[in-house]
């Protein structure tokens, strides 16, 4: 279980995260969605959980172990992996090289100085498998910066799964993706995470996607937890509806 314990973070006078305590992965492999209006502190929460930001107070617990003091790379090896809202790829590497970089890291081989980067059989097999699974085969040798937006998102997710996460935090994985591709991206994420028993925590603005895929929803507002529960709270919680959609009661 990934747990935020009374996390607080302020930027100047703004309380971006205000005493947030939530749990993710109560059941292994659950799909949790974080919703909330702009400025609710969704990305800040993900940043705190993954070590991109240090909390002013509070703790992050990973399977009951305090990881608040661990650096992002140490958290990755502990099973906590994230993607970014604006896709971050190694732009001058091909799709295969991008995925390989992640898998080499997962195998803790990046410290190896005198083997060949493409010479590890088991890594190459994993890489080929991921490229297949995420439908990237035809782009395998394309340089990342030349990829279409949807493909970039998929590569980003493929790299994340290449790190063999227990918890995967996705910051708007469908942002900027065409409606047609959206379903494909989120379907793939759902399918692979179910297969591998990965708990996903996804920030999402598209409420149709949330109600269709969520096992549980956590709603944030003004830095705090507004409420959480099954996806139908999106229908039943009028206050939440007003916050999210501007729908009047």
């Amino acid at each position: 279980m990934l747990r935020a314990d009374s996390l607080r973070k302020s930027f100047g006078n703004v309380r971006a995260t205000d005493d947030v305590s939530v749990e993710f992965g109560k059941e292994t492999g659950e799909m949790v969605f974080i919703v909330g209006p702009n400025g609710a502190g969704k990305t800040t929460l993900v940043n705190l959980l993954t070590g991109h930001l240090t909390p002013d107070s509070g703790r992050v617990l990973l399977d009951d172990e305090d990881v608040t003091g661990l650096s992002p790379d140490e958290r990755v090896h502990a099973g906590l992996v994230r993607s970014f809202q604006v896709v971050k790829l190694f732009e001058e590497m091909t799709v295969r090289e991008n995925v390989r970089t992640a898998v080499l890291s997962q195998h803790r081989l990046t410290r190896s100085m005198f083997t060949l980067r493409d010479g590890h059989q088991e890594v190459e097999q994993t890489v080929a498998g991921l490229i297949d699974k995420f439908g990237l085969a035809e782009h395998a040798d394309t340089v990342a910066e030349e990829l279409a937006h949807g493909t970039r998102k998929l590569l980003d997710v493929a790299m994340s799964f290449g790190l063999d996460p227990d918890y995967l935090l996705l910051d708007e994985p469908t942002a900027g993706v065409s409606t047609r591709e959206k379903a494909y991206v989120i379907d793939t994420i759902a399918e692979v995470s179910r297969e591998e028993g990965v708990t996903t925590v996804t920030i999402e603005h598209d409420m149709d996607i949330v109600s269709e895929y969520a096992d549980r929803v956590v709603a944030l507002h003004q830095g705090g937890v507004h409420g959480e529960g099954p996806p139908d709270i999106l229908e039943t919680d009028d206050e939440l509806r007003r916050l999210l959609l501007g729908v009047e009661q």
Partner: protein, 387 residues
């Protein structure tokens, strides 16, 4: 299994290749080029005896600064960090050898070299640890600052001979002993040169292995996106530090050899920040996107500076002019442009086989120009603040 990683001949894709080290397999043409290159390098002492315009020490110095530039290039090409203080490590190596020889009568070539490596490792570890807390411009400025600090320290201490420097003459010996042999100065120069060439080849092979390893891959990742690299589990800070130290050790080895070649070191030529600039320039001149480029750049720049001194009083301007030509005309550097030359040859062949390919080229060129103009306009607009 084990003999598969040994040098020798291997068969790959239906042709015989020369394996230098695991993964580095040269085609027939590449092997010929490498062989010719090596032969030329080996023949330099003989060539130097017949042509007065080519001096052995100049080539030797060029190779050594080139070696330092190969080290610097590990940071420049892979982690994308611009070190502006690499003379610090070159100078550290040079002064380690000089101090040990002049003050402690250490005469052994190998001992001087190893000591220089150790001290350069230490200095690079400290400078790197402090400089790498920042990236970009601040990193460059910090390396520059540490370089100048070292320069001032050596310049100001009589122990280091102040601005007069130190001789590299251990005790009664006129020069360091190579494997226990006291040689006359001509033989010493030639043998030291050949040792440099051997060390150079080994250093290049080691560097090739390093940059093609998973570690080198991680450095590339760090260079392309630091944040992402950390979030796929790469300990960015530690790896960049290790790369910095390795890069410094290359400088230290080069500096120690330089001290033994010159048999006298002064702070100006080995520690002053202009030397750092030279080393950086060598990498760019030769082509920092290549392994060999910095080495070629080193030889060429030292040669240019030497020849320039005889030709014109403004020889320093030569470096500037060369830099301008490279930046505007050959941004890939010399060795990088050779590859572009290969592309040109391929294009010529295409054209002979199918002249209609010109149509494709024109459309590609037009697209390129339109794209470039659009980018340029966008840049101008954003600079002027009109959108």
């Amino acid at each position: 299994m084990s003999n598969r990683s040994l040098p020798g001949l291997v068969s790959r894709d239906g042709e015989t290749r020369v394996r230098v080290t695991k993964g580095l397999e040269l085609t027939k043409r590449q092997s010929m080029l490498a062989l010719v290159g090596l032969l030329v390098v080996f023949a330099i002492p003989d060539i130097a005896t017949v042509t007065p315009s080519l001096q052995l020490t100049v080539v030797h110095q060029g190779l050594l600064f080139g070696l330092a530039a190969v080290g610097l290039n590990l940071l420049l090409r892979h982690t994308r960090l611009v070190s502006f203080g690499h003379a610090a490590f070159f100078g550290t190596g040079a002064y380690t050898a000089a101090v040990l020889a002049a003050k402690f009568d250490v005469a052994s070539f190998s001992l001087l070299l190893i000591a220089a490596m150790v001290v350069a490792t230490l200095v690079a570890a400290i400078v790197g640890y402090l400089s790498l807390r920042h990236t970009g411009l601040y990193f460059s400025l910090l390396t520059l600052a540490f370089g100048q600090l070292l320069y001032a320290l050596v310049q100001g201490q009589s122990f280091f001979g102040s601005s007069d420097g130190l001789p590299v003459r251990p005790g009664a010996a006129r020069q360091p002993l190579i494997f226990g042999l006291a040689l006359d100065s001509e033989a010493y120069a030639v043998i030291l040169y050949y040792l440099t060439v051997i060390i150079l080849v080994v250093s290049l092979v080691v560097m090739w292995r390093l940059v093609n390893s998973p570690f080198g891959n991680a450095l590339d990742a760090i260079g392309q996106d630091r944040t992402r690299a950390q979030f796929i589990g790469i300990p960015v800070q530690r790896y960049v530090w290790i790369a910095f130290v390795i890069s410094g050790v290359y400088g230290g080895v080069a500096g120690a050899l330089y001290a033994m070649v010159q048999q006298h070191v002064r702070p100006g030529p080995v520690l002053y920040f202009l030397r750092s600039g030279d080393i950086l320039f060598m990498a760019i001149l030769g082509g920092f996107q290549t392994l060999l480029g910095p080495l070629v750049g080193g030889v060429l720049l030292v040669f240019l500076q030497d020849v320039g001194r005889d030709v014109t009083a403004y020889f320093d301007a030569l470096t500037g002019v060369a830099l301008l030509i490279i930046v505007f005309g050959l941004p890939r550097g010399l060795v990088g442009s050779l590859r572009a030359g290969g592309l040109l040859a391929a294009a010529t062949r295409d054209f002979r086989e199918n002249p209609a390919v010109v149509g494709e080229w024109i459309s590609a060129a037009v697209t390129g120009i339109v794209e470039a103009t659009r980018n340029w306009l966008r840049d101008v607009q954003s600079i002027l603040g009109v959108r």
